[in-house]
Symmetry: C2
């Protein structure tokens, strides 16, 4: 794209005190729909190590507003700037660089209306919940495919096809490849230049990141958020060493990644998986990395970190939500009260049959755990680790396990999670947007309300393993319809009548029953 002439730039700057309109821009300025990626490519030096020796940044402005972004080196003398506009209008930019060829370059683009169905990046809403930038509620129903982008291309395509029809709208996935039980294949691409045992952490590999970006774009097209794991302990120290780079290399990697990826609207940052298992890093290292993300992500994507045994302090202001590995669901109210943030139970063991206890619960049990999280006003993440019945008894093999490789889903929980997601997403009242579930203090059975605390719109009861023949529901004032739900069968059966006061309703007396009341008056 050609630079603006000096006169164009002066014209735009003069107009900066009033909203710009498109006619102020040069006629060939590109139009970028809101929440999509504007990208400018610049030619610059290719000698030496441009990744560390050449700086590139830009000031991007719309009227009064100025956003500072970082550019990055994409190899072969090409530098790029990426920016996700969140406001419609005429944006201009000016570059800064220590390379004369890249300094004081200017440009402009017009941000137009978003494409249909695009709602923008997700952030925290209503303390414990999430919404897209345009206010559309987002209820995370996540899954886990740690190393799917490091598998052969046909498997990656199969994963995308599976995701397209799955109930999942978020996926936990790693930047770095994974070396672990059942994960022994080398990826096609590595994040740094070099060869096994000899990677140069000062030279990110543009081809690797371009591949990662293609997958982020694929997910974006499916309306799936990428909960991108920036560091993890599942490293091969002899061959890779990505878990034990020097701090300066961590910072360089992270700033490179932030410059390349932040403009993708469907990103959440997960600073690490099982951060406390990363022996070469201290908690203070992760504090520092969090700050880097805060400073260099102009979109302010959600930020959290996942642990094995020792919790990170989710009270820190730079953490937007908790990302837990625990099955102590009874503590959900404590977590909400302690942190006043959304609580994601991101690792609650996986449906499957591995020899490991974290990877061999039934679909019934994983479904039950999803309900326990949701009904307590929190969120849950799925995973599947299902060996074929004739698998050999050896974790040195590399079967295709969804949890790590992607591929196909075999379990019974996804269909039940789909049912729960539909339930949660269809709780909006006519008069207000869907606020999410608020756990109610009924002392006998877990239940949650939707809507105004004093006059909720809906009430959702989960009887979990309890199987009462009947129950007296202490309804708030109003008139209510009732539907009997089966969390496993995925069925919804209306209970006839208009219910008020403390109705005693007969229930099916089997586990996993649930009930939904909706206010009619």
């Amino acid at each position: 794209m050609p630079d603006l002439t000096r006169r164009d730039a002066l014209k735009l700057a003069a107009a900066a005190l009033a909203p710009l309109s498109a006619h102020a821009l040069p006629a060939d300025s590109p139009a970028i729909p809101r929440y999509e990626v504007f990208e400018a490519a610049l030619r610059g030096p290719s000698t030496g190590n441009p990744f560390v020796e050449v700086t590139l940044a830009a000031t991007v402005s719309l009227g009064h507003r100025t956003v500072q972004i970082d550019g990055f080196y994409d190899g072969e003398g090409t530098y790029k700037l990426r920016f996700m506009p969140d406001t419609e209008g005429a944006w201009i930019y000016t570059t800064q660089s220590n390379a004369p060829a890249l300094a004081n370059r200017t440009g402009a683009f017009l941000c137009s209306a978003p494409n249909p169905g695009v709602h923008g990046p997700v952030s925290v809403r209503n303390t414990y919940h999430f919404a897209h930038a345009d206010g559309t509620p987002f209820f995370p129903f996540g899954t886990t495919c740690y190393a799917w982008i490091h598998q052969p291309e046909p498997l990656q395509q199969q994963t995308l096809r599976t995701l397209a029809t799955s109930p999942f709208n978020k996926i936990r996935m790693c930047v770095f490849p994974k070396h672990y039980e059942y994960n022994h294949n080398e990826p096609a691409l590595y994040p740094f230049a070099g060869t096994l045992g000899h990677f140069d952490f000062t030279r990110p590999n543009p081809a690797f990141f371009a591949h990662l970006e293609r997958r982020l774009a694929d997910l974006r097209a499916l309306n799936i958020e990428a909960d991108l794991i920036l560091f993890h302990p599942y490293d091969d120290p002899a061959k890779w060493g990505f878990a034990s780079m020097p701090a300066a290399s961590d910072d360089l990697y992270l700033r490179y990644l932030l410059a390349r990826l932040s403009a993708y609207r469907n990103l959440w940052w997960s600073l690490a998986n099982e951060f406390d298992l990363m022996r070469a890093k201290s908690t203070q290292d992760f504090d520092r990395l969090f700050h880097l993300v805060e400073q260099h992500d102009p979109v302010a994507h959600l930020r959290s970190i996942h642990y094995s045994k020792t919790l990170y302090d989710y009270a820190h202001p730079w953490v937007t939500h908790a990302s837990l590995q625990t099955i102590d669901f009874d503590r959900a109210p404590d977590y909400r009260n302690a942190w006043q943030k959304p609580i994601c139970f991101d690792e609650i063991q996986y449906e499957g049959n591995l020899n490991k206890r974290w990877g061999n619960i039934s679909g019934d049990e994983l479904t039950r755990r999803f309900w326990l999280c949701l009904i307590q006003g929190c969120y849950a993440t799925h995973g599947e680790t299902m060996l074929p019945p004739d698998a050999t008894l050896d974790e040195a093999t590399t079967p295709t396990l969804w949890w790590s490789h992607g591929g196909e889903l075999h379990g019974t929980s996804p269909a039940r999670i789909a049912f729960l997601r539909r339930l949660v997403e269809t709780t909006a009242s006519a008069s207000e947007s869907n606020p999410g579930l608020t756990p109610s203090p009924d002392p006998y059975y877990l239940n949650a309300t939707v809507g105004n605390a004093r006059m909720p719109h809906q009430i959702l009861y989960s009887f979990d393993l309890h199987q009462p023949l009947w129950y007296e529901f202490p309804l708030p004032a109003g008139t209510w319809t009732a539907e009997l739900l089966d969390a496993l069968e995925g069925t919804t059966t209306p209970i006839p009548g208009a219910h008020t006061g403390h109705p005693r309703l007969r229930l099916p007396a089997r586990p996993y029953a649930a009930l939904r009341f909706t206010r009619t008056l």
Copy 2:
């Protein structure tokens, strides 16, 4: 029974320094098998209030050994002494009383060999376990029928018939009648003289206690331990007032009961059910009552107390075992370590379908909880609260619920508990008695060993909700046979071969699987 002549008594006293033989006793002295009840009836005053005005005690001796026992007034001028001899030989006794007719009365009996199958009262063995007085291990598999002795006689007989074929060898039951949801019928007999609203707590009702004793004897004939609950909060204060008697009345009631019942070998004392819900009593009151039991029970039956929310301090030396109401099974190791006593999870919710969450879990889930307790070296107690499918929606009715009334069992857990009991009872090795299950620190799946800690005889694995397709078992040195168990189906399937080292065994990949290894070499 006639008193000894003075000469007989002198003869016996002279022989007291050497073991007595039967020929030293009067020819008409009764023979009492070991662990049965010797009873002597005496005539005494019937005027005034003999329950409080007349004292009666006795010194019972065998050779060097002397036991002090209390007598009691049985009404209509009859006083009784009861004693359970625990040692074979010639026993003599001499009474003490403030009534001349009851003072300095003497008598004798011969304690003979126990009846077949009688092993004596149960006490603590191996820190965390139990055994009868003759050393026979006792593994409590208890059930709960709080108010069964207060129901119509045909129902009590049905309860006994059900117990005769059930897997339960212990029953939690109350002395006092019960006033509670689903429990609104008045009993035929009350523990004190008087009428509803006007009971005289200074006059125990001998007919009531005689009835209780018949039921204790019925249970004894079935080899069932009565875990007798001495106080409870489920009172009708207007009609009964048994939960809020003055301290002096509590003491009188308790001493009367101890004098009457202690000689029943199949007794455990549960000082209270949900003691912390008894508003009229403090924890110190229960401390005092524990001390009374310690002082006036010559058999030293097991002693504990059950709570609702606030634990009693089970570390007290006068508490023989913990009696818990909790489903926090993860804390079992903490409880064992803290108290170094047997841990009984006595209320872990009941199989059933009540509207209350404590009374509506499935048979699968109650079975699962039994396994969780046992595999962690603790014990569990069953209960059933199953309304018929066409029950009215009203807890003011009095259906027949096993948990309270007895009757019949309808649930699926008893058959599974029977399977678990057989498993636990058949773990003895050829060379040593059955020591009970010791939880093993394997970090992945709950398992317990039987026998010498360094060289166990058996190892029992429970996979609970986990469903691995295979697992590598870290066996101790030795050669082992293996059996696959299904906790729900109650099946045992040998896995062919002799297993050593760290065998990888294929498992059925469904919940509730278990596995038992038995050492062969």
